[in-house]
């Protein structure tokens, strides 16, 4: 095998391995994160009845009022197709896909996830996201 074919085959194998891992079992860090949001949502509202991918999708696609007009949806930076590469609406910088199928690392680092909810929700909604909304959002993207 020439070094060239090795360079081609190795990344391909890595992609297969990652794909198999998601199909086999949900990521424990992501499950723990969702469990945490479920507990918070229950504490905030006794009527809490689980997360909804459909509501998460509506949050993702918008449009919303209350935030900055040029970022009236999560999709403004994360792109309407969550399996595609996004682009920061102001700086033009590329953003890795949000869909877990396309980017298995998503929603596995709780500090990073909380930091970004903290910044991105006010820019889009003009307020923080609730635990219900965070869980809906992650549930939607985990299924994409």
């Amino acid at each position: 095998m020439t070094p060239h074919t090795i360079r081609f085959i190795l990344p391909t194998l890595a992609v297969f391995a990652a794909g198999a891992a998601i199909a086999a079992a949900p990521n424990p860090a992501r499950t723990a994160l969702l469990d945490g949001y479920a507990a918070q949502a229950k504490a905030q509202s006794p009527a809490f009845a689980g997360f909804s991918a459909e509501r998460g999708r509506a949050l993702y696609l918008g449009p919303h009022g209350g935030g900055k007009p040029e970022t009236n949806a999560c999709a403004a930076c994360h792109t309407p197709d969550p399996t595609a590469q996004g682009r920061h609406q102001r700086t033009g910088r590329g953003i890795e896909p949000m869909a877990v199928s396309a980017n298995p690392k998503r929603f596995t680092d709780p500090v990073e996830v909380e930091k970004r909810f903290d910044r991105d929700c006010p820019a889009v909604l003009g307020r923080a996201c609730t635990a219900q909304e965070k869980g809906d959002f992650i549930t939607y993207l985990s299924g994409q």
């Binding site: 900055k68 682009r87 102001r90 700086t91 033009g92 910088r93 903290d118 910044r119 006010p122």
Partner: protein, 143 residues
């Protein structure tokens, strides 16, 4: 449009032959992990050598309202990043200006038609990587 940009580059290159080498054409890449991570999410992590220490201090003082974005950090990483940026800052430039893209040397190198900045793959003057392939490695000479 790319052809026009190439022409601009060629002109700038020609005019650069006579001038002395630009000290910003190669700057030290970012070597601090916290800076790479926390300052490299919304745009590339700009190298400390692109701005004087006074500009970095003012940027780090204003992360709550960072060009209209909330970019605040916990005290630990904030102090580490501040020390790294100011400790490796440029020896020249105007410390009263926060932006690289408002520094005189930068404006001199980027006199393009206004449409260039609106191109979909550029979008912002701060999107160095759109035009300088190796910007993340601190290489801005012609490529």
């Amino acid at each position: 449009m790319p052809r026009r940009l190439a022409a601009a580059a060629a002109l700038l290159l020609l005019s650069g032959v006579a001038a002395s080498a630009n000290e910003f054409e190669r700057v030290r890449p970012v070597t601090n992990d916290a800076t790479r991570k926390e300052c490299g999410e919304c745009h590339m992590a700009f190298q400390p050598g692109l701005l004087p220490a006074g500009s970095w201090t003012r940027i780090m003082d204003g992360l709550d309202d960072h060009f209209g974005e909330k970019a605040s950090l916990p005290p630990g990483p904030a102090a580490e990043i501040r020390a790294y940026l100011t400790g490796n800052a440029a020896g020249r430039g105007d410390p009263t200006l926060l932006r690289i893209t408002e520094q005189r040397w930068w404006l001199r190198e980027h006199r393009f038609r206004p449409e260039v900045w609106l191109r979909k793959d550029v979008m912002s003057k701060a999107n160095c990587e759109a035009c300088h392939r190796d910007a993340a490695r601190g290489l801005y000479e012609d490529d």
